[in-house]
Amino acid sequence: MICPRCEYDEAYKVFEGEDTIWEVFRCPRCNFNWRSTEGEEFTSPAKYNTRFKLSEKQIREMAPKPPIPPLKV
């Protein structure tokens, strides 16, 4: 399964609704979660809103919030 947001190819199913009426997937790289019934603009890598897409480079360069403090000796 390909993540619609960061296009990592190891996304996988984590849960399904009663009678499998929908399935929930997660991406282990960008933590995006989506439901199969949300529509193609949320579930399709090709149709996901480009303003909210994430690249590997963007993820690598994200600032930590809050900053990690130095260890106390």
Binding site: R5, V14, F15, E16, G17, E18, D19, I21, W22, V24, R26, R29, C30, N31, F32, N33, W34, R35, T37, E38, F42, N49, R51, F52, L54, Q58, I59, M62, A63, P64, K65, P66, P67, I68, P69, P70, L71, K72
Partner: protein
């Protein structure tokens, strides 16, 4: 009569016509967010209780519980038509009853089921995406409890955005100015996990005070008691040394993984804009306790104001800094910090001497809330109701002299989710002094205000009697 749980409050709202049950099956997306947005935008918007959500069995969702002045008044057990200024002064009065310490109980419905073997957030909660481009399913109204890991003291209860990322993983936004960030920093300096409990679906005062900017050392539970008029009941967490609200529907327990950050966001914030993706702290969940039977999951819709967040995080935002300022400067009359969590704020005051409005605005900027959030502060005299924008705009129109009354403070601390930032966490503060200048300042050239005819009140009543339509 204080409410002991969310269920108690929903029952009261229903008797007052301020809650609506949706019995038909709705889709998790987009139905819940759309209905919650609609309810918050209508006059006297009701709470919504969704009884059937596709795929989630008998689990229910409550939205817009605080989402109108009427619901806010009923939370305080006031008549539902009580105005904002009157509710503000009632909250101020109750703050003076602080502290009313919590009482510990040994049993509560939320302990009926204890899930400590592979707990799953997906299984326990009817999760849904609050806004379309959120990075996942958020708990946007849950209360997070933590303690100072060094001393075991200073228990804190706060509402922070929480992103469900996996069965047992939750991202948490602990901005540097949040109290929980102090606890997290200490834990991370020692490289130890920070124990947290997350109370889901609480009585309305618990949510109100958890989102109130109290001082770091003030006890949220003791303030909840002051507002409720009787002690709040708490019950020990399963692990660690935390007190959780006994009236909660469900409590998630776990620990923040030290010195690690993971991708989180975006999330549609109270600003009406999506905040960006960042790497943030993450909670590893190890226990979930809950009521037996159908859970009501209370969540919050936030979007372009006004939405529920603008009612929940409104008068409480006003009262805490107001009290802190009042202690130093008794001349302050009221503070309206209801616009985007106080980004725009209006202070009304009596003037001690010329230039005093600036003193008061700067004091506001040194309160715990004022350090970051406010960036546009208007100061008016005590003849102006700061909750009445017509009056405020009149004061600016006729009393403000830009060359003397405009103060700009660049490079000041700012809200990290302000969409207008140039550097995240840095802002420019603006003070508009719209008070009448007093000695030794130069008075207004034309200082005589037109009186409102004293008979106006009588005539207003007469005119209303003769109107055919009721307003």
């Amino acid at each position: 009569m204080p409410y002991r749980s969310l269920r108690d409050f929903i029952a009261r709202l229903e008797t007052e016509g301020q809650a609506v049950r949706i019995k038909e099956t709705v889709r998790p997306e987009p139905d819940i967010r759309a209905a919650a947005c609609a309810a918050a935008r209508m006059p006297a918007g009701p709470a919504l209780l969704f009884e059937r959500i596709e795929g989630y069995g008998d689990k229910q969702v409550a939205m817009n519980v605080h989402g109108s002045p009427q619901n806010h008044a009923l939370m305080l057990d006031l008549p539902k038509d009580t105005g904002m200024k009157a509710q503000f002064h009632e909250l101020v009065r109750r703050f003076d009853c602080y502290p009313v310490h919590p009482v510990k109980v040994s049993d509560a419905p939320l302990k009926e089921v204890i899930v400590d073997n592979k707990p799953s957030l997906y299984r326990e909660l009817p999760l849904f995406r609050v806004n379309p481009w959120d990075g996942g399913f958020y708990l946007s109204k849950a209360c997070v409890i933590s303690r100072d890991p060094e001393t075991g003291e200073n228990q804190n209860v706060g509402i922070y955005r929480l992103q469900v990322k996996d069965h047992d993983r939750i991202g948490i936004q602990a901005a540097a100015h949040h109290d929980i960030a102090v606890h997290l920093r200490k834990a991370e300096e020692l490289n130890i996990p920070l124990r947290v409990a997350i109370a889901v679906s609480n009585d309305p005062v618990t949510s109100l005070i958890a989102s109130t900017p109290l001082r770091y050392l003030e006890d949220e539970y003791a303030m909840m008691g002051a507002i409720r008029g009787e002690p709040t009941e708490v019950i020990p967490s399963e692990r660690g040394n935390l007190d959780v609200p006994a009236g909660a529907e469900l409590v998630i327990e776990g620990e923040i993984i030290p010195r690690m950050r993971f991708v989180e966001g975006p999330f549609a914030e109270f600003t009406g804009y999506y905040s960006t993706c960042m790497i943030q702290a993450e909670i590893k969940v190890d226990v979930i306790t809950r009521r037996r039977g159908p859970i009501i999951f209370e969540n919050l819709y936030s979007g372009v104001p006004w939405t529920e967040i603008d009612y929940l995080q409104a008068l409480n935002t006003c009262v805490a800094p107001f009290k802190q300022m009042k202690a130093d400067f008794p001349e302050i009359e009221a503070l309206n910090a209801t616009y985007c969590h106080g980004y725009c704020s209006i202070i009304s005051t009596r003037m001690r001497f010329g230039g005093f409005a600036k003193t008061l605005a700067l004091r506001y900027l040194s309160t715990p809330h004022g350090i970051t959030y406010p960036k546009f502060i208007i100061v008016v005299d005590d003849d102006i109701d700061p909750f009445d924008l017509q009056q405020v705009m009149w004061a600016i129109a006729v009393r403000f002299r830009a060359e003397r009354d405009l103060v700009v403070i660049p490079n000041a601390p700012g809200s990290t989710v302000d969409p207008a930032h140039l550097v995240r966490g840095i802002t420019t503060k603006v003070i508009i002094d719209a008070t009448k200048p007093v000695f030794p300042d130069i008075p207004l050239a034309d200082a005589s205000i037109v009186d409102i005819p004293p008979e106006t009140v009588i005539w207003a009543e007469e005119i209303m009697k003769r109107r055919k339509v009721s307003i």
